[in-house]
Symmetry: C2
Subunit: 310 residues, 2 copies
């Protein structure tokens, strides 16, 4: 298995896959990162072509673990050196990556992935083998993709301790816009409103509700921008939904002074989320008339794939 | 000292003040609560008039620790039994309480207070003596109030382990609208948007950014409504600020696709908040030409009063 990129995600993948007993090698665009990884005993080079040649020879899975803007250059090398490789990725949006793969490495056997783990940290040193333990790992289940590659990506996720959530690429993007990207924008708005006074009274009085509501505003802006701007269309819909609900709330507060509808709906939503914290693990087989449609239904139910049916 | 109400806040006040060596008694409207408190060794009755008679005889400080809607009835008894008592409160809005006191117990020597501590729990059993340790305790410093009562309330806060943040009542309400009430409304909006899909995919994928951003949406709706609706005017201004910023963000996303201004402002706001976490403790004396104006300036600087100048 060949991992392109050795930052937080790529570096954690290298560690987790090696710990699971897999043959794994990687690349980094940074001499420093590659040297750090080698010092820790990992087979990481800056020579992307050499790593991809090796993947082509072994028909190994290639995992793209670089930010969205770096993908075209990497995919150009994939198409030149390992054009029909098994390919997946760990980028947080899925439609944009699929479009980029279709454009720059159209012969690759691509199945998109998104391990939903991460911290505010970044870089090789922040990675660790346990990063994906008990995390959801979305594996795209759009019609027409290669079932053998799907199975390989699922087994990689399980080897890393994650559970597999199958989803259509566009449904993934709409979902993460609502539950991952919108939280970053609302946190930014809240932090800005809290800090809007010239004096320090409001910030001095800000306690746990403000601390929790703005925590992700502490993330490096570059990471937030890459993530949110890469999911433009789905995020716009989520922002419009939030704007509409905030406008309704504003109207109710200004007219009747009552906020019950807003507060009760939020409470119900939070409880519905809490009820999803222990997903049912199901076993599947990739056969039947429409195996990918069946997989997508599992994700829509909030369940997760944890192994193969005997 | 006489505490009216023995829920989370009143019950914690009784425990903290007794632990600090003060003579303290209280009342509860609930037979069950009063019995629980007595079983734990506290002098708590359901006979509000008797408790207030005792306060009048001893010129003891009376602390209102009941929700805003319960205040008129309690203040009616104060005016009948202990009309000129030293009076403070622990309610989370300050202009509305001052107006209610002025209407129902106009002779009381009132100085508003707001200990900024609490949990999602409520009731006598949830209280504990350490609830106010290291918390900010706003003591209203509007012109015209009784400096002796101000000093007594400050000493109560210190006895409970809190630091005193002096503020004008209206400035307090604007501040908590931004950093305490708005977070509850944005959490409700986020939880509602996250749960808006018919299928469970989005909630299943919701991880730490959603968990933190919606945490306070798990609070009992009645508590959130009492707090937010009681701060109507200030909250409306905070909601309008958030709406405006979210609208600007929406426009930027739809036109240029860029979110840098929003994300960077949020990051800066969060950092500015983090820098206020270790407030400077100052010592004061309640003399000079305008001691209350000097106190308000301390709060506006983000500092806190921790004792008297020798």
């Amino acid at each position: 298995m060949c991992v392109i990129g050795a930052g937080l995600i790529g570096g954690s993948l290298l560690r987790a896959a090696e710990k699971a007993g897999r043959a794994v090698w990687g690349t980094s665009a940074s001499q420093d990162t590659a040297a750090q990884a080698r010092a820790d005993g990992f087979d990481v080079t800056t020579d992307t072509d050499a790593a991809l040649h090796r993947a082509a020879a072994a028909d190994a899975l290639v995992v793209l673990a670089v930010p969205l803007p770096a993908l075209p250059d990497v995919l150009h090398r994939v198409d030149a050196v390992a054009p029909t490789c098994q390919l997946t990725d760990a980028v947080s949006v899925k439609v944009a990556v699929a479009d980029t793969v279709a454009r720059f490495a159209p012969r690759a056997r691509y199945v998109g992935g998104h391990p939903m783990a991460g911290t505010a940290e970044s870089g090789w040193a922040a990675g660790h083998a346990g990063l994906f333990a008990d995390a959801a790992w979305v594996v795209v289940a759009d019609d027409g993709l290669d079932l053998q590659v799907w199975a390989d990506v699922a087994e990689l996720a399980w080897a890393c301790g994650a559970r597999v959530v199958p989803a259509a690429a566009d449904e993934h993007d709409l979902a993460v816009a609502r539950v991952s990207h919108l939280p970053h924008l609302l946190a930014a708005v809240l932090a800005t409103v809290g800090a809007a006074s010239e004096d320090e009274l409001a910030l001095a009085l800000a306690a746990s509700s403000f601390a929790d509501g703005t925590r992700v505003a502490g993330t490096r802006p570059e990471l937030v921008l890459a993530m949110c701007e890469g999911n433009h269309d789905a995020l716009l819909a989520a922002v419009d939904d939030a704007l509409g609900r905030l406008g309704v709330l504003r109207g109710a507060l200004a007219s009747t002074g009552g906020l019950a509808a807003t507060v009760r709906a939020g409470h119900a939503g939070r409880q519905r989320w809490a009820a999803t914290r222990d997903p049912q693990g199901v076993h599947v087989r990739l056969t039947g008339a429409a195996p990918l449609a069946a997989l997508r239904d599992i994700g829509r139910r909030g369940d997760a794939v944890v192994g193969w049916t005997d």
